[in-house]
């Protein structure tokens, strides 16, 4: 997936000279995950810039760059380091278009490697997407596989709204076919980044997930022999395409929601609340959430117990079938 995002960034930069990359260690080092590898060499130091070590500074200056007509693509080094920039994101990036009564746009993409499962130290495994999904004015995307990453990073950059782009870091090394001949911006409804995708069809239980959990849920669907799982990759966390999800639930009449973030107030709560309302007469079981617990992300030797895995997904499917 690292390569796919790298190619997507390259495409976006070739297409639009106003696209510039800004972040810590993204230049010569190519980013700590090498997502921007080689881009500074090819596009120069003015388009791929190493930033001082200050997240609020990176995001705040990006607002100014956007006002000057640039299209900044920022990298936050790890999920746990986005918070120093929270104010600039929530009070400035998200609200600027409104504050200017629409006179200018804020086409800023903030890339954040997120989630756990890589045995990292504190602050390197978090899933903060709910904070941004609750913030009006932002869009939030997360790709599940290399092909989606290749397309949606380009679509995010081309979007005139600010997009928080969460990259599932445990899937960075996933391999997968990437058709680079696809023109991301001309695919229209074929690959609409704001729509959920049914990535595995099934008839008994719908499983809604996104980002790193999509592969987990697909594996659960493969492994689940008694219960037929339909896996829906939400892809866009904000806005949520609850229409596509609801139509799956209308078929299966059961829903399990899966994410790594803590349960309370997570994105799963919104999905469950919405579907419980809209599919009230269809649901034959309550919506069940399979998520991280309401604790700070634990030491890495415990993460296998914190993160939803294949077994917990299947267990939940069994539970909703029991109703």
């Amino acid at each position: 997936m690292v390569k796919a995002i790298n190619s997507g960034l390259r495409k976006a930069m070739e297409r639009d000279p106003k696209v510039i990359l800004f972040g810590q260690d993204i230049g010569r080092l190519g980013g700590v995950f090498r997502v921007t590898d080689g881009l500074q060499k090819d596009f120069g130091e003015h388009r791929v810039m190493d930033a001082p070590l200050a997240e609020s500074g990176i995001i705040g200056t990006a607002v100014g760059l956007a006002m000057r007509g640039y299209r900044p693509v920022l990298e936050i080094q790890f999920d746990g380091f986005v918070y120093p920039g929270f104010d600039q994101i929530v009070s400035q990036v998200a609200k600027f278009h409104r504050r200017m009564a629409g006179a200018i746009a804020m086409p800023i993409t903030i890339r954040i490697p997120y989630g756990g499962g890589i045995g990292a130290v504190e602050h390197h495994s978090e899933s903060p997407e709910a904070y941004f999904a609750h913030t009006a004015g932002l869009r939030v995307l997360t790709p599940a596989d290399p092909q989606a990453a290749y397309l949606t990073i380009q679509q995010a950059i081309a979007c005139n709204d600010p997009v928080i782009y969460f990259e599932p870091k445990r899937r960075y090394w996933d391999k997968g076919e990437v058709d680079e001949s696809l023109a991301a911006l001309e695919l229209g409804a074929v690959a609409d980044p704001w729509r959920a995708r049914v990535v595995h069809t099934g008839s008994d239980v719908t499983v809604a997930c996104y980002g790193p959990m999509v592969r987990t849920c697909l594996e659960a669907a493969e492994a689940s022999t008694d219960i037929s799982l339909e896996v829906v990759d939400m892809q866009s966390i904000s806005p949520l395409d609850l229409e596509t999800l609801a139509s799956s639930v209308e078929r299966t009449s059961r829903l399990v929601v899966v994410h790594e973030a803590s349960m309370s107030g997570g994105v799963g709560a919104e999905i469950a609340a919405h579907i419980s309302e809209k599919c009230f007469y269809t649901l034959e079981a309550p919506v069940i959430r399979v998520t991280g617990f309401d604790v700070p992300y634990p030491a890495s030797r415990l993460e296998e117990y914190f993160l939803p895995d294949l077994d917990r997904v299947i267990d939940a499917a069994e539970r909703v079938m029991r109703y």
Partner: protein
């Protein structure tokens, strides 16, 4: 205080006496001088009128710039048309000079909008309320100027209180690191709401700059000529690729923090009296009169213009049309957004249910 003012660049004494300074000077035509006077008087008139309108319940709030006219007008008039200003909520003198219509400003304080003007037209950003945030925007904009190979400069405005914020200090770091064409214009009006400037640090504000790697200068913020001179030098420095400057305009907030504030709780009346003697408008007026650059009829004329402006403002504010309820869904996103469309329809449907029951 006396010690502070020793370091501050001054070209016009509180008594309206033109003095010289070893490093800074300025030559302005008579009409430019009269223009500065006019700007300051009209800005003060707007300010007075807005305060009155707030008292009458026509505005939700007003943040007065009384006493800071020279700092704002002097710096803003030093800017070239393509330079870009990043003001806070108190920079009515700056927005005035950038050509933003006063009613645009008042609309925000009335609560009919959270903003409005196109920043590209007048090269002026929105009023920033979160302390310090806009200073980073200014630096980013300046970086953009640099990448464009242009010769514009960004001017960011902020207060003495803002010097404590992380964002402002990060702005200094980024500006120095990229040698960005930006001027940091700090109006030290001695107060951040109830917190006096001199309790925050034992050194002067302009001294902060050196440790970040660029020059800082303190100017008498009630001396419009000195402010303009110092700002012009900083702009030129930035324009020619020599990076940022921090200007500390030493001035005074003569009014309350905002119309919600009660300064009698934290400051002594005597302080205000001292500063009245340094009034920025009075000293220019004395100078203009003494030099024969302007006469009674000119001053009367400006007074008259102010009255007309006040009337225009009064009528304009009272006549402002309340926004349509569903306009809150406008401009949240620049591109189509399903959730917004859905909620807008729901609201309209709900609102129309009342009309039905009434009709």
């Amino acid at each position: 205080m006396t010690e502070d003012r020793m370091r501050a660049v001054q070209l016009l004494t509180p008594e309206g006496q033109r003095v010289s300074h070893p490093d800074y000077d300025i030559t302005l035509s008579d009409s430019e001088l009269r223009g500065l006077y006019r700007d300051m008087v009209l800005v003060r008139r707007i300010d007075t009128e807005a305060t009155a309108l707030q008292r009458q319940g026509e505005l939700g709030l007003w943040a007065s710039c009384l006493g800071q006219e020279a700092a704002q007008v002097g710096s803003a008039r030093a800017m070239a048309p393509n330079d870009f200003a990043f003001p806070t909520f108190r920079e009515h003198g700056v927005t005035w000079c950038r050509g933003i219509a006063p009613l645009e400003i008042l609309a925000m304080f009335r609560g009919v909008t959270t903003g409005g003007w196109d920043p590209q037209v007048n090269k002026c950003g929105p009023y920033s309320i979160v302390i310090g945030a806009q200073v980073l925007h200014g630096v980013g904009y300046a970086m953009g100027i640099q990448f464009d190979g242009a010769e514009d400069v960004a001017v960011t405005y902020f207060g003495d209180g803002a010097m404590a914020q992380g964002d402002v200090n990060e702005a200094f770091v980024f500006a120095a690191s990229f040698s960005a064409p930006v001027v940091f214009f700090c109006q030290n009006n001695q107060w951040a709401i109830s917190q006096p400037r001199d309790r925050q640090s034992n050194v002067q504000i302009y001294e902060r700059a050196a440790g970040f790697g660029f020059p800082g200068v303190q100017v008498d913020g009630n001396d419009v000529l000195a402010v303009m001179a110092v700002t012009k030098v900083a702009l030129e420095r930035a324009r020619t690729g020599n990076g940022p400057t921090l200007i500390e305009a030493y001035t005074y907030r003569m009014g309350a923090h905002t119309t919600s504030d009660d300064p009698t709780r934290y400051r002594l009346a005597g302080e205000l009296e001292t500063w009245r003697l340094r009034d920025p408008i009075e000293r220019l007026k004395v100078y203009l009169a003494r030099q024969g650059i302007a006469d009674r009829s000119f001053f009367d004329h400006i007074e008259q213009e102010g009255e007309e402006l006040a009337l225009h403002i009064r009528d304009g504010v009272r006549g402002m049309v309340p926004p349509r309820p569903e306009s809150m869904f406008d401009d949240v996103y620049a591109e189509a957004h399903a959730r917004i469309d859905e909620q807008r329809s729901e609201m309209l449907e709900y609102l129309s249910s009342f009309q039905d029951s009434v009709g």
